[in-house]
Amino acid sequence: MSNKCCKNHTDWQMKDAAIDLARLEPVLEQYDGVQGSLITILQKAQELYGYLPVDLLAYIAMRAGVKPAKVLGVATFYTQFRLNPVGKNLIMLCQGTACHVNGSAAIEEAIREELGVEEGAITPDGLFTYNNVACLGCCSLSPVMMIGEDTYGTLTPERAKEIVRRIRADG
């Protein structure tokens, strides 16, 4: 993180106007010069903005003094990082072995039917996005999904739909 003489956030305009670069400033300062902290910076940036648009990655590269290709390379390597925005509630459908054996495919079908969108897309009301994810480690409750930080286990297609409806009703 050497390029201190370079432009700072006030010179950069993000395509997504909701991204306020000033909020990232404390993170960049905290990890300024800390070797190997790129993944941590990306994690914190995603926590702040919900996703990592490509122009934000370019900005982080500039501030960290590394090539944008490297930042993009890291961001696309790990499944945690999202380059596109998601709905207010991110539904993670576990596709681990136990969930697969216990019918996670039917749960995905039910969720897709209930939301009316494909994996990764945002529902028109902006409330939901669903993603298939690797094992969530709650195998004894399979099939499982996580919405935000909450885990829902022993799902049936009907129960999965009900949970989504309840969250939708709460806004």
């Binding site: 190997g36 136990a98 094992c135 480690g137 004894s140 829902y152």
Partner: protein, 585 residues
């Protein structure tokens, strides 16, 4: 004497509603001489939420606790009347727990993971307060050698050997070596490490401290997967408490030992379970494995000598040092010592965590502790070792749990995932499932792994869609061997195992799919055919009303017919039919 109430709050307990139960208990017992505490997962996930009540030294365990049960428990605690008996743990389940031998899980579900005093009360940190004053680092490594502890991440490589190599590595100028814990439990179907992190984080810290002492490392890192937020939070708390008590930091308890520990959250990549890939990820790079040697013991994290073990391995170490290596090696078989934790899931009655001595059989786990197959269906196979492992068929159920005997079947011990499958699981579909996983998770460095797994996936997908061709099995076999030879890291080399073991033991299923276009487990939709048995059909019209594509025709009180050209095989008709008239072939 006050009453203690313990609510099991591992991730599974919380998912089953434990937080709400704790809140209800708290509210209902307000003002009484009661303390409500948290514990981690006891391993009986199928009985969650679980509440323990300790009164006058006697413990009662309540299971599958709901709001009604809470009301009864409160009455029982208040001494009003004891009508909570119906919620007490069945004797059989309680016995199951005592049948196990718990070393790595000794404290899980018993102590409050957020209270260091409860850990200390159970001999926690005794190795640091007492034993290391008497035992040299060499002696610690010697105990591990006597114990015969093998790495619990899967391969079972002798732990003492790794520690010795890291100890013998020349000390760099700045004096830094690293102790690294691999808590990136990526195997689908495995959650042993999560249970230890959530239920007994101090055991991990103590194990890492002993490693730090043995190899002379002043710094440590725990690489935890980001999917385990609760584990990270509890480990953070534990590290802070250990620092406050002087078990971590400079000159620990006035000795020459100094050790600082931090957490690094992974970002989701299965390949980071491989140690050189994990190191790359710790350094902020794409997590791609590199050629060994040099081994991490010589050049690891930031090129410093580093020792990497997984959570369960470290969690075994304090017990071994306290009780002696011989006590550990007294359990198990000639090649595999001690105990092993398994995550028992899938089509099993009593899923959860099981810790048993090596040398037990698969039958002991599935039918002994696990209670057998759900709905009493026929046991078909058990998948062990995740994407690097294989499926062990029913007729090998008496196979001993031992690194060598399991490897001889084509599967591996692995990190401890045991996914049980019954007659309704299609083995070709299982192979396709794992290849889909390894194909997505291949880091892309080696061509055989990157492209070979994709080709295998395409063939398997074709077979499950009814488009299998003569020669496919041979082609899969050929590709599998090439991937094994052509991949750098262990994950690539083992990626074809799920396919090889299913071909070895379930070749008939592959042949049924390819030559007879038949899926006996009735899982591969394109191979199914839905018809209505005219004798059973009462003409209730329910199926035709529920059919999403209007493929079912018929009039009231007359047998209905499914048009195979329109049918999308969604299974709705079979689901709603009350007369079992829909036949699936």
């Amino acid at each position: 004497m006050s009453t203690q109430i313990i609510v099991g709050k591992g991730s599974c307990g919380i998912a089953a509603g434990a937080s709400r139960i704790a809140a209800l208990l708290e509210e209902g017992l307000k003002g009484r001489d009661c303390s409500i505490k948290t514990a981690g997962c006891i391993g009986m996930c199928y009985l969650e939420p679980i509440v323990d009540v300790i009164e006058n030294g006697a413990k009662r365990t309540y299971v599958r606790v709901d709001a009604d049960a809470v009301a009864e428990i409160i009455k029982a605690v208040s001494g009003d009347e004891n009508t909570a008996e119906q919620y007490e743990i069945p004797k059989e389940d309680d016995d199951n727990l005592h049948k196990q031998t718990r070393i790595a899980l000794a404290n899980c579900g018993i102590i409050n993971p957020e209270d260091i005093d409860e850990y200390i009360a159970r001999d926690g940190y005794k190795t640091i307060t007492d034993i290391i004053r008497e035992k040299s680092p060499e002696e610690i490594i010697g105990e591990l050698k006597t114990a015969g502890l093998g790495g619990r991440g899967g391969a079972g490589f002798p732990t003492w050997f790794k520690w010795r190599a890291a100890r013998d590595a020349p000390v760099p100028k700045d004096g830094i070596k690293y102790v690294i814990c691999n808590a990136d439990e990526g195997d689908p179907g495995a959650f042993m490490d999560r249970a230890v992190l959530e239920g007994d984080p101090h055991a991990l810290i103590e194990g890492m401290l002993l490693c730090a002492y043995a190899i002379g490392a002043p710094q440590g890192v725990v690489y935890v997967r980001a999917e385990y937020p609760l584990a990270i939070q509890r480990l953070e708390t534990a590290i802070r408490q250990a620092e406050e008590r002087g078990y971590l930091g400079d000159h620990i308890l006035g000795t020459d030992l100094s050790f600082t520990l931090r957490i690094n959250a992974g970002a989701g990549a299965f390949v980071c379970g491989e140690e050189t890939a994990l190191i790359a990820s710790l350094e902020g790079e794409r997590g791609m494995p590199r050629l060994k040697p040099p081994f991490p013991a010589q050049k690891g994290f930031w090129q410093k000598p580093s020792n990497i073990n997984n959570v369960e391995t470290y969690a075994n170490v304090p017990w071994i040092i306290r009780n002696g290596g011989a006590a550990f090696s007294a359990m198990g078989t000639e090649n595999s010592k001690g105990t092993k934790v398994f995550a028992l899931t899938g089509k099993i009655k009593k899923g959860g965590l099981v810790e048993i001595p090596m040398g037990s059989t698969i039958r002991d786990v599935i039918y002994g502790v696990g209670g057998g197959i759900r709905d009493d269906k026929a046991f078909k196979a058990v998948q062990m070792g995740g994407p690097s492992g294989g499926c062990i068929p029913a007729d090998l159920i008496d196979t001993m749990i031992d690194y060598r005997t399991l490897a001889a079947t084509g599967a591996i011990m692995g990190s401890g995932g045991m996914v049980v499958m019954d007659e309704t699981t299609c083995m070709v579909d299982m192979a396709r499932f794992f290849l889909d996983f390894t194909c997505k998770e291949s880091c892309g460095k080696c061509i055989h792994c990157r492209i070979g797994t994709r080709r295998m996936l395409e063939i398997l997908t074709r077979i499950t869609q009814g488009e299998g061709k003569d020669g496919d099995i041979e082609l899969l076999h050929d590709l599998a061997l090439q991937i094994k030879d052509g991949s750098l890291c262990g994950l690539g080399q083992t990626a074809p195992n799920p396919v090889l073991t299913t071909i070895k033991y379930f070749r008939n299923e592959y042949e049924d799919h390819i030559y007879h276009k038949k899926c006996t487990a009735k899982q591969c939709k394109p191979l199914l055919r839905y018809t209505i048995n005219a004798e059973k059909c009462t003409g209730c019209t329910l199926c035709s009303r529920k059919c999403p594509v209007d493929a079912i025709t018929g009039t009231v009180k007359n047998a209905h017919v499914i048009d195979p050209d329109k049918c999308i095989k969604c299974g709705k008709c079979a689901e709603v039919c009350r007369f079992k008239a829909v036949v699936i072939e």
